[in-house]
């Protein structure tokens, strides 16, 4: 990293606190070219306050652990360049919305993953290692629908962006439902019907208002809104089929 020619500073507000509350602390951070939001947070932790708590691992957009609210919007901070999101010279960094806070910038991901399980987003194999391998045609429409969602990095950016999650804490949210849709379309998953039943409960896919914030913010450029729409369509047909 090289210091900018005009060596500007950033005025950074960082949310400090825990589950019982908190407030913004203000730091002045030197501005570099090619600086990411995670670089800024790390600089503060290394030079201003070693007790600043935040989470990251891979720094290359693979692990999904570094998501925070940056200038009011959910972002993966390791791949978000400061110059893309800065407003004047001001940067505000807070924990992800819609999740409890553990401390400072580290949100508690438990509710997020509990909802993956509740949506039956857990792969259940349809065969054992002793059975012959299932042939999977990568070009089949069903497999293509499954493949669309498999690059999810579990970052919870979509979950944080979703206004329905904010208004309805029971709602399973875009990531868990996208995972469910992937499994519904995965021929190697045992029981698509049990997944469809799980997402048909109160708080399931039918609570989605199709705002599309999930798709607009997903850093992996996935389309959870489309996956939720797929679940709505499939469960609707299943519902009609049952009563026919």
């Amino acid at each position: 990293m090289s210091v900018d020619e005009n060596s500007k500073n950033l005025e950074v507000s960082v949310w400090r606190g825990d589950a019982s509350g908190g407030e913004y602390s203000h730091y002045t951070v030197p501005s570099y070219s090619n600086q990411t939001v995670l670089d800024v947070v790390s600089w503060i932790q290394q030079h201003c306050d070693a007790t600043l708590t935040y989470r990251f691992a891979c720094r290359v957009g693979m692990c999904g652990s570094c998501a925070m609210t940056v200038n009011g919007e959910p972002r993966w901070t390791c791949r978000t360049h400061v110059n893309k999101v800065i407003k004047g010279d001001k940067l505000t960094v807070a924990p992800l919305r819609n999740l409890p806070v553990i401390k400072d910038l580290a949100a508690d991901m438990d509710p997020f993953f509990e909802k993956w399980v509740k949506a039956k987003g857990v792969h259940e194999p349809s065969a054992s290692r002793h059975d012959p391998m299932v042939a999977v045609d990568p070009q089949s429409p069903q497999r293509m629908a499954a493949s669309e969602g498999i690059e999810c990095i579990n970052c919870a950016v979509c979950y944080s962006a979703c206004d329905t999650v904010a208004a309805n804490p029971d709602y399973l949210g875009p990531a868990a439902l996208q995972r469910a849709w992937t499994l519904v379309n995965d021929e190697k998953n045992k029981d698509a019907n049990s997944v469809l039943d799980a997402v048909s409960q109160t708080g399931g896919c039918h609570s989605c208002h199709s705002h599309g914030s999930c798709t607009a913010y997903c850093p992996a450029e996935l389309n959870p809104m489309k996956a939720v729409a797929g679940l709505k369509r499939t469960t609707a047909f299943k519902f009609l089929g049952k009563r026919r």
């Binding site: 329905t164 208004a167 309805n168 029971d170 048909s200 409960q201 109160t202 708080g203 399931g204 039918h206 609570s207 709505k232 469960t235 609707a236 519902f239 009609l240």
Partner: protein
Amino acid sequence: MLDVRLYMAQRISALVMAPLVIGHIAVMIYAVQGGLTTAEILGRTQGSLLWFVFYGLFVLAVSVHAAIGLRVIAGEWFGWRGLPLTLFSCAVFILMLLLGARAVMAVTFS
């Protein structure tokens, strides 16, 4: 707030309403040609089984649709859940059904 049954009830009631809305507007446009009088409207609707079924179905679909829609809004805005939310939805449904049925009876009977 919604499970698949309520979701389907809301979609199907919307499906029922769509042609009825178009029919309602079409008849309105036709009816206002050359002035509009109470006698003219009642002359068309009173004692008519067709208009009784038309608006009776309309009222039923609206009651279902609105009760579920308001249920979602009440759940998301006021955080209502469980029994209070169900009672609220049922109250909306019954109120709309009664008001609507009263209007339908008034113009198709007597």
